[in-house]
Every structure is written in C-alpha cells, then in structure tokens.
Amino acid sequence: MARFTEKQYRNQLSLAMVAYMAAMLLIWPLSRTAASVPLKVVLAVVPVLPMLFVIGLMARRIGASDEFEQRVHLLALGAATALLGALSLVGGFLDAAGVLALRGSILIWVFPVTMLGYGAARWWLLVRHYGGSAGCEGSSPGWQLFLLGVLVLMVLGVAWWHGRLDAFQTGLLFGLAPGVLLLLGVLLWRRLRRAADKD
C-alpha cells in the first residue's frame, strides 16, 4: 500500500475545511428554524461530519508516520490535551464560582483549541527542541492554494447570496480579504523561493 503522504494529508484536509465552512454557512443556520426536532438534530450536526473526517485523517497521518514523527505527534497531542484540561478546569471553577457565565456552546471550542495547542507544541518540538523544520516535505504547487481560495470564495459567495452573512460579517470578510491574499502571496513566494534554492 502506498504511504499516506503529507501532500495527500494537506489536500484532503483543505477540502474537508472547505466542506466544514460550507456546512456552517449554508446548512447549520437552517437548524435554528427547522420545524421538527429530528430535523433540527440532523442539520445541527452536519458540520461535525467533515470534522470527523479530519480526525480520521489525523489518525491516518500519525499511523503512517515513522517512529520519530509519531513521537512528535503524540507528545504534541499530549501537551495539547494538558493545555485543554487546564483551561477547562479554570473555566469550570470560574463558572462554578459565578465569575464567568459559560454556555454549553463553549464546547464547540474544544476541538479548535486542541488543534491549536497541538500545532504550537509540534512546532516547538520540531524547531526548538529537535532543531529541525516544521515545514511539510514535498510542498504542493501554488495552483492548489489558488483552487482552495476559489472554493472558499465560492462558498462565501453562495452564503452571501442566500443572505447568510449579515452586514457585519460581510464587512469583516471584505476587510480580512486583503490580509489573507497577502498571506497567501507570501506563502507562495516562499515556496517558489525554496524550489528555486533546491534547483
């Protein structure tokens, strides 16, 4: 069986994130006005499907890694879990003491905070501790980033067309767009430079 490469992981992850965004913007809002409870449940958990796929992707990525990479992945996940546990304890005690009023929807942040912690811990281990690079080997061509950008814009366009974005969200997106484009441009320039250095 061919090895699951970083490039395959990034490509599938990118598509899953676009699917998640589409589900959040186009399908999830329908759950608030759904007539029946079963339909409400189904519409509310649709965004979970691409996230479950992402979790499966991560498990596949870790399983396909060599011994050193697995060690880094698992140490980083352990650190992220510890961070999340600590934050949950702090939040829980503050809520119990009446200092904070936390709603159940805060649980949505468990997975993103875990992933942020994992990413930061993995970067620290690879770059600071082991003195290597956190960059992915075998970078993808710039056209894939462009395609991803087009897919994201299409989802946002459809969401705006169907009135899913209010004035504030629309303004925020238009404000963020130049920054995102600049970041993509910098990433593409760095990849082209790395490719030129290798030649």
Partner: protein, 63 residues
C-alpha cells in the same frame, strides 16, 4: 548518543533526503538522529547499520 551517521552519509555523497528515502523515514528523522537529538529504535538502528555495512556499535556510541 553520539553517532557517525552524518559522516557515513557524507562519504557516500548522499543528502539527508537520499538517506531518508533509503531508510523509509522522513528527512526530519535523519536530521534529529544526526544532531544527536533523537536515538533511533533498535530496528531502525539495525537498518542503518545494514545500509552502511557496519555494526551498530561502530556507528552509535553512548555519551
């Protein structure tokens, strides 16, 4: 653990990526081994020794 992996690789004119491909590991793994930041498992150490045609004790030395 000190090791001679970088020297042995250099003698053969291989890059870290070349060695990584021959051992079926990532380039990050090779870099971590060469800098002494990571000690390979026994199976990987045997693989390295077989690839270079030397014994494990010749290549790897405790600090």
């Amino acid at each position: 653990m000190k090791n001679q992996v970088r020297e042995l690789r250099g003698d053969r004119g291989w890059s870290q990526a070349d060695l990584a491909e021959r051992l079926d590991v990532s380039r990050q793994t090779i870099n971590a081994i060469e800098t002494g930041k990571y000690d390979p498992s026994l199976p990987l150490a045997f693989k390295i020794a077989r690839l270079f045609g030397q014994s494990i004790e010749t290549i790897f030395e405790p600090d």
